[in-house]
Point group: D2
Chain length 354, copies 4
């Protein structure tokens, strides 16, 4: 209700500010008897972790997840899985310069308006640090999905656009470079662009594409909780996201129905997949794919005009170690949120029929 839970049957609730002692969460509704690969979880955490490459923030956060309950002898027990991630890098002095200041295009002003009070240190609850908890839960969700696979990758950085569909790419190459683009030549150009932007003290946006394969037909709920609507909400809830499209997306608005329709083969598959694997809000067994738009990070190393809590004009400049482009580290977050949705809908699908 107050915004810190996601999912209905497979449900994640999180807590924690960027500069408190720890962040963490509770996964409620994970079925019993799932053998957990804890290394796989930490591996996903490492993909999101600061300091993993030269094109991301150089903050030091080991981001080790500690499980406190719900797992016994290596398997889930059906009871809630509580977990913690210590905040190692709580250098509060770094943030004294923003104590009374509303940073442009951050949540400082809006949190103050909503709550009348805020933990200003590092953005507090509005910091993207909370996404670490999403990755923990999403990684467990992935393990529940069996044959389904979820792969996200960077498909654009600023105006460097990967002009190929996911079917033309070798997704096993995603992790072969720090920008997480499965097309090596484009990856090189993206990295160059990020380095150039970083040098200028600026930031840049980008797009992540995500593909979910081996989805059984029949996942999704009618009307308000359509599968793609929940995927959209999941993605839009990630910090810095400005847009979501699936299947033919905005491009599909220019097509005619006769071109856009996916003709059905005798085995139930379709000849094209402009539907993006979802029809009427329910999966049809084809690949689900969608794009997520990320704005440029708001913290820049340049002077900007803004106001303080008294409404006085002041000048400020970002300090510290921020991401010049959030997209490479957001790839595992997109996967995690997709996994949470798919796990939830997989469980929901078990009660569709009598």
């Amino acid at each position: 209700m107050a915004g810190n839970s996601f999912g209905t049957l497979f449900k994640l609730t999180t807590f924690g500010e960027s500069h408190g002692p720890a962040i963490g969460g509770i996964i409620d509704g994970c079925p019993a008897g799932l053998k957990l690969d804890l290394d796989a979880i930490q591996k996903d955490m490492d993909r999101r972790r600061p300091g993993q490459s030269k094109i991301v923030t150089q903050r030091k956060e080991p981001d080790r997840v500690e499980f406190l309950s719900g797992i016994f002898e290596g398997e889930t027990t059906g009871t809630p899985i509580g977990f913690l991630i210590q905040n190692a890098d709580q250098r509060s002095r770094d943030y004294s310069h923003i104590k009374d200041v509303f940073r442009p295009s951050h949540a400082d002003y809006t949190y103050q308006q909503k709550y009348g009070k805020r933990d200003y240190r590092g953005g507090g609850r509005s910091s993207a640090r909370e996404t670490a908890c999403r990755v923990v839960a999403g990684s467990i969700a992935k393990q529940l999905l069996g044959d389904m696979s979820i792969d996200a990758y960077t498909s654009s950085v600023g105006d460097i656009v990967l002009g190929k569909s996911h079917e033309e790419l070798d997704l096993s190459l995603i992790e072969s470079n720090p920008v997480r683009c499965p097309h090596p030549d484009t990856a090189v150009r993206m990295i160059e662009r990020i380095e150039q932007i970083k040098k200028a003290g600026d930031t840049i946006g980008g797009v992540i594409t995500c593909v979910i394969r081996n989805v059984p037909a029949g996942l999704g709920e009618p009307v308000f909780d359509k599968l793609h609507a929940q995927l959209g909400k999941a993605m839009l809830s990630i910090n810095a996201v400005k847009g979501f499209e699936y299947g033919s997306g905005f491009e599909g608005t220019r097509m005619t129905g006769s071109r856009h329709n996916d003709i059905i083969n005798e085995d139930g598959s379709t000849q094209t997949n402009r539907s993006g694997g979802v029809q009427g809000g329910i999966s049809n067994g084809m690949d689900i794919y969608f794009k997520v738009a990320f704005k440029p990070v708001a913290t820049i190393m340049k002077k900007q005009d803004t106001i303080n809590e008294k409404g006085e004009a002041v000048e400020m400049q970002g300090k510290g170690r921020h991401d010049p482009c959030v997209v490479p580290r957001a790839v595992p977050i997109v996967e995690a949120m997709a996994a949470l949705v798919m796990a939830d809908y997989l469980l929901l699908s078990k009660i569709s029929k009598h």
Copy 2:
């Protein structure tokens, strides 16, 4: 849970198939003491109604809403508002040709996979007919919003694109033409395009832009239930929607942070509004605006290959009276869903502070 409810405090639950005796819903959580303008509700219904102009479906549905509870002496009582809309145009014989056939890019196949059984008449529950209930509830939600205004309009039909921002337009012109585009010259071209497409027995997609003004700062919830995430889910839950973007949207991914950031004025307003009125998931008092992508209607008046329930290849052709472009009638639906979100978050905001 099963997908037929929307909202948390201001909550709509709907029922009904396109060819059953009636559709309807229950609005639970509307505060007591709201004077209702029933004419305004019917007016919104008439904007969604079939047969309202020559560029929409010519089905005959008066779409009169009948309230059964929750209203006493012209005011809400705080108890659930039950309502009904009779299905006047239940010509089931129109649909005998699709009884055993899975129409391309419809929900026939996926409902069958999910439920093992479906009411095939006119799409049953997956028909866009259910959106009439959304308009009823959304119209009541609008009346709860006080000074806030919600205006949606057609900003593209196929490749006919209205190339102006909402700030450059006179939104009072939206209802001056049947395509609901506030730019008269562009409206003429859009109408021509729809007529041409209709003549060809085909359909076309389009984009709707929606603007919410006079929003108080502080609406929205952190992390998973960000205001724009819920708006996105609301829009993506509407039939035929393929994408959602707010503020700078996908275009913003190409910008640098120094250009994208909205500098804050001393009164808390911002010099630009790339944030789209929402920062960190919470409204900042600026206009909220977003775009919604609609695919072309899947039912076309041309022969298409498909399969039947036995998995045999068959040929089919749309019959009846369908929309050549769903966008003009979807404008009030977009507004309704936006109103449902805003009403819900307005109520939620009342408990943010002690």
Copy 3:
């Protein structure tokens, strides 16, 4: 949220005032493919109906339920089941004497305090008329339960107490008399008592016992949503209920652990059943049984002092046709609420294990 929904996966939402045009509801989450026996539903409705015998209210309400959606060719389709019950007996003039008056031990005063406005006709939303919708949904829930059986019966009327456990009774006799007590001799005494109370213009309370048999072990959720906690909430939500106990109940508080513990047999059954079929909130396969306390109906045919909306002392007297004892008609309501809980938890149990 606003109190008019019950259940999580098998979910009922209701609307309607006693003197509006109709009451009704939506059942969302009933799995597809359940063959419905509509006569069985009406039969349960008839057990709750006014005017069914001389010991209940003589109001005339046929209470015919009309289904509007979610059922196709005699089976559920998985989509929401909308239904209506017309209010035949809307004699609003009967209630003019209570328009401005707060009746003692009714909800008039509290609704006024909460909402600032109320539909005073016949109690409006607070009338027990809404329980008709519960019976509709509960009757469908029963059909989902397969082998499980749910039988409620009157175990006391005032000080006439049926001093036998459910295991000593022949529950097939419940419907053999109008008071719904499976012990014919006691039934006669109960009926006499109700007639005597009615003649005096007064009312009397009573207790209903409910037994659920053939429950699979493993239904229930840990901690907050224990099976008996949800059964308790379900019963306490019925009008006039003042208490709930299951298994050994209040009597069990006087026992020692060595006497109270249920020794487990090799087949998993227990030698005694003081646990009432539930241990740690989860069913163990033994009979679930509980008692529900109903206070005397507040409307009496005698003069009482009270106040009006202005806070002035006034005298009032009940008019119309009220139940001298609510218990006989509450039996099917208790069963219905029990069925809603069991159906919901049966669905929830399908996702406990991987």
Copy 4:
């Protein structure tokens, strides 16, 4: 959904097994700007703590609560409050004797049936240890309630019954003795009884009465979420609870309406309070009071027959340090659950009127 959350707006989610590293929880929805008295929270924790007196279990658990988020400069920030309680006394070897055995009237058998797997150490999730988290959250909820006061006390132990209503007692005496009975003479007899039972290696049940005063009129939701129904669920969710009654309770079933009705005074108060402060599910401003029945603790220091996981008959005997009577330590738990309900409904009441 999976049972580990309580509340709608003021919502507690908990995790943790009795013998894992820690238990804890997340409180989501506590409004911002509440000054917290952390000592008061620890004081409530100490009232629930093992080892506090000679009539309770002698386990050693300091039960220090550690807050990880949602509090800044001594006030709540509106973001989720995460908290931890370390499990100091994890002596797993104590439980080796129950590894494969289903203890009579415990949740061992039912958890095994539901989940197919369980953490057998000390009851795992089904242990009453989780109630420590309820006390943390309830104690914060109390601080949100302003003038409202919540006082629970022991009103019976076995057949030692405190035969006075709460209005005849001095509730400031509750904490004056270890059994938490505000009637000193009766307290002495209760303590003697518990010591006698303990010496016999047995256990005994009891009843707790709870009184909520200074409740504003108008709290509660209609139909399914009646205030007393949620209080009942809250109480029934506490380990070992078998029954709940409020106001006149089961005794009220023997009364006539003319005697049971509470006549309303000109100021809205009532001359009697058989309603227990709630009418039609909504508070009327009078004291809310209710009774909660606790069965005797199932773990006894005597030999009992039972079965193991293979279904073989075995003999077992309780070991370790258990409560001979759970009631004294359950008093703060009853208060905590009552506080959670009242805080939630207080927030809900803020949106009843437009």
